[in-house]
Symmetry: none
Subunit: 223 residues, 2 copies
DNA sequence: CAGTGGTCTAGACCACTTG
DNA sequence: AAGTGGTCTAGACCACTGA
């Protein structure tokens, strides 16, 4: 089982409804299941997740329909999801040290002597420099194995789904060391988003400072 | 089938963990299923909903644990609510005209010839200048009566609860005409939030540009 | 009436973690 | 090796909607 079948089914459904109008019915669970050679429970799982994603909606015993994406409630963390979607990452800097900046230590509830991973990377989407991310992780939150598989560890997609987040929006002038990377002039006002991701047990897990290029990435929230 | 069995299982689990500390493991799916005489899939459904509710969390193949409920934070909308909470408003400017700025017209889906209300006000909380709001409302969205009761009309609290919103975060330098009002130096980077409030039928109702004083108002979102 | 989603079962294999 | 959650199957019965 390479990719779970229900994820393949999700994708298949997404492709099916790509050009459909809102409120169009999709095929029934039984149809899809025989069409794709999967059991109905598996198809249900796929559809249920799509409902959770706001892509589809159920209507009683009438059927399942394409949702109006304009109505999407965005209770999810704002930016991080679609950044890590179709983006490439270039690591600019990477080390493990102690005694970091005050705000980092405070957010991660660390002492000056504790070690942490610091990684800076440039995020590009379609070749455009969307943002620079400074990522801070307490060393104790990373296994040795994960350290060798950092790119996997830093694929935040799977985290985002389950994790609680706090995001603070900070207006700043683009840091000089990132201006060229983001193709911005010195002195350009930008928004830095400080993302704190928590474990389910309530402890801070990862702290990320994201420096967004405002001309390439509109920061937007809908309810 | 009176009450679905998985709901009964949810309740049973909730009772079980009522007095348990966060991060305590619960019984395994197989245990619960034989204990309560249900199939494992049914138990899974119950547990998965409890995870979705934030009551439990999974940890890899180790087990399922009681979550830290302190992490249940406000999934509430945005900034506007607590602004209009204990704030005072001072109207700085107010007129009705046509032919506004492009972005305003576009957001409100108006033509150049349509009239709209434009109102600028300073928002203070505990005497501190939190933000300047530029409010735009198509004239056709305001009755003559409301026009005489503008303060009531602009008490956005009631609106916010029921209305759908879109917010865009724009990094700018504080506009010179607002710098003094917000007690900021010329050239200070700030965040402007463009708020578009929609009617229930999906049409844009009010457009508000909020210029926040970043030293007095931290813009923060939790999930 | 035939079709839909909602629920449920009793198995199964897998990858992973832990003693 | 034993236990865990993750996935999956091939059936089943129910309540409900619509023609």
């Amino acid at each position: 089982m390479d990719r779970p079948k229900y994820l393949q089914i999700k994708q298949s459904i997404l492709e099916d409804i790509a050009d459909k109008e809102p409120n169009t019915p999709i095929a029934s669970e039984r149809e899809i299941s025989s069409l794709l050679g999967a059991s109905r429970m598996t198809v249900r799982k796929a559809i249920e997740e799509l409902c959770g994603d706001g892509v589809l909606y159920r209507d009683g015993n009438k059927g399942t329909f394409v949702a109006d994406e304009k109505m999407h409630k965005n209770t999810k963390p704002i930016i991080l999801d679609d950044v890590s979607d179709q983006s490439t990452f270039k690591i600019l800097y990477f080390d493990i040290k102690s005694d970091g900046e005050e705000d980092v230590l405070k957010n991660l509830e660390m002492t000056h002597s504790e070690y942490f991973l610091r990684l800076v990377r440039l995020v590009k989407t379609q070749g455009k420099p969307i943002c620079v991310e400074e990522i801070f992780v307490p060393r104790k939150n990373i296994s040795d194995e994960q350290l060798g598989q950092l790119s996997k560890f830093l694929d935040l997609d799977h985290l985002i789904a389950t994790v609680r987040t706090k995001q603070i929006f900070v207006p700043i002038l683009v840091p000089t060391q990132y201006a060229t990377l983001l193709k911005l002039k010195i002195g350009t006002p930008i928004i830095r988003i400080d993302n704190l991701l928590y474990e389910q047990n309530g402890e801070p897990h990862i702290f990320i400072k994201s420096y967004y290029n405002p001309t390439l990435k509109v920061i937007e929230i809908s309810t």
